[in-house]
Subunit: 325 residues, 2 copies
Amino acid sequence: MRDLPQLLDLIASFSKENPFPASPSELYLPCDYILTLGGKRLRPALVLMGHELFKDNVESALPVAWAVELFHNFSLMHDDIMDAAPLRRGQATVHHKWNTTTAILSGDVLLIFAYRFLAQFEVASTVPQLIQIFNRVATEVCEGQQFDLNFETQATVSIPAYLKMIELKTAVLLGAALEMGAVCANASIEEAQHLYEFGRLAGVAFQIQDDLLDTYGDPAKFGKQVGGDILQNKKTLLVLKTLETAPEVDCNELRAWMQTNAQNPEEKVAAVRAIFDRNGIPALVAAEKERFQKAAFQHLDAVQVPEARKAVLRQTVADLLERDS
Amino acid sequence: MRDLPQLLDLIASFSKENPFPASPSELYLPCDYILTLGGKRLRPALVLMGHELFKDNVESALPVAWAVELFHNFSLMHDDIMDAAPLRRGQATVHHKWNTTTAILSGDVLLIFAYRFLAQFEVASTVPQLIQIFNRVATEVCEGQQFDLNFETQATVSIPAYLKMIELKTAVLLGAALEMGAVCANASIEEAQHLYEFGRLAGVAFQIQDDLLDTYGDPAKFGKQVGGDILQNKKTLLVLKTLETAPEVDCNELRAWMQTNAQNPEEKVAAVRAIFDRNGIPALVAAEKERFQKAAFQHLDAVQVPEARKAVLRQTVADLLERDS
């Protein structure tokens, strides 16, 4: 069994051995750029872990793992345009460093290259199944992004709609990464499905934790500005839980803060956090996270392989869900 | 053998039987919109014609034909953003009718749906080959668009570089449509290759004709403003041939016109056209078109099927290349 650093080494070697074409450089340099911005490469690692639960020849799943990483970066490149984000991992986004045209076209070619690598999987008869999973999840990620965009202008968002959005936008790709790894290793449909559910539910837990950390993370460890969601008036699970459970006076105060652009950012973050605190919202949201996390690991437990084969995957996902930054 | 209207009817029925999902409507309505803007649906028809050269059960190729049409419309939706085009076929482009975010995300999902339909081809063992052809040509179309964008700011463009650009941006998709149709009908690699070359070379001829018509088309028949390329200072084959063959004084006059935004559009179009005319440029460009057209039909002639099976394809492409609007 390989540990996480060993799997990440395999992915790094594969990417070096499979560079983008040199020309036209205007198209491919931005692809190189975003792929070397220092992402954690969690998704391709999940493909390899999903494979290694069942079989040792994990190298054979590398093209599929790389396809998932390219897809993820395609979606980041296009989402950053839509969100008008100037920075990604502390560096200029592609549409800021170059321009929107470049970020559209380089994103398009990243998506197409994802399919190229997917089609390179050595067992040709498995490729249609991989493509089918990939198409399903790629569609869902676009739908999730659309729901997220819709929420910005919607007056009310229900908690189930919010959970569905984060599931589509983020969680299903984690599930599908594991599922595709299992399919590459010729696992049964049932085992592949358990892994999909494990990744999907852990992905929702991960996103809920992201909402918590954005407001309650340790500023010394959290990469971004703590309170960023509050300052952007984002309808996070903290906000939605407040509107669902808090007394009308607190709901009104929260709505008032969300309709103002803060003159004094620290004052706004402190005031909104105080509303959350006096209504016990962090504990409610943490309980929601726990619920998804517990359900996730039940699916990992149900996979019929020796516990030793699950160790790396179990530890990696547990570490992710315990992170405080 | 089915004629072109019959093939187009099949495509129209298939599209009605395979609508986009209803939700999220913000994502899928723009897809419906662009697909019903009244495109000629030449590319999906070419898939069916490529199939029908070899086999009668042309319905089986419909998912592949529709995939090609979706891909084409994905590229139009994104190109229109990059070109800041307000109109497409006389109607508002998606990014004008909605916004850039919508045109990016709906374009993305169109591309993903293209792969979905491609993977639906009934012979699963053929799907990897179809995906491979599709990936190759999709990459080339992005590269062609990038070269086209590069040319806008490049001081000089060689004629071979220009021909390569129109080949990548437009012609290879026509070739690949025919090739994929042939592959669906289980044609030999050699036959599929002849059809690819036929479509590719005819596609280049078609684009050269487009350059001619933009300046010399009949205003009563030409859908767009005649002289549009001149007013946009586009480096068409007419311009490049002039710079290659005309005396220095004419080249300088042409360059001067191309560096000015016309105060009087009619004067500019007339002046540039006069430069082309006194240097015999239309005839040179028409000869170039003829050269590609002749080479194209040699590949159709080489396909070893009865002439009767080629009749619809031969006539359709001949009509396209004789069109004067």
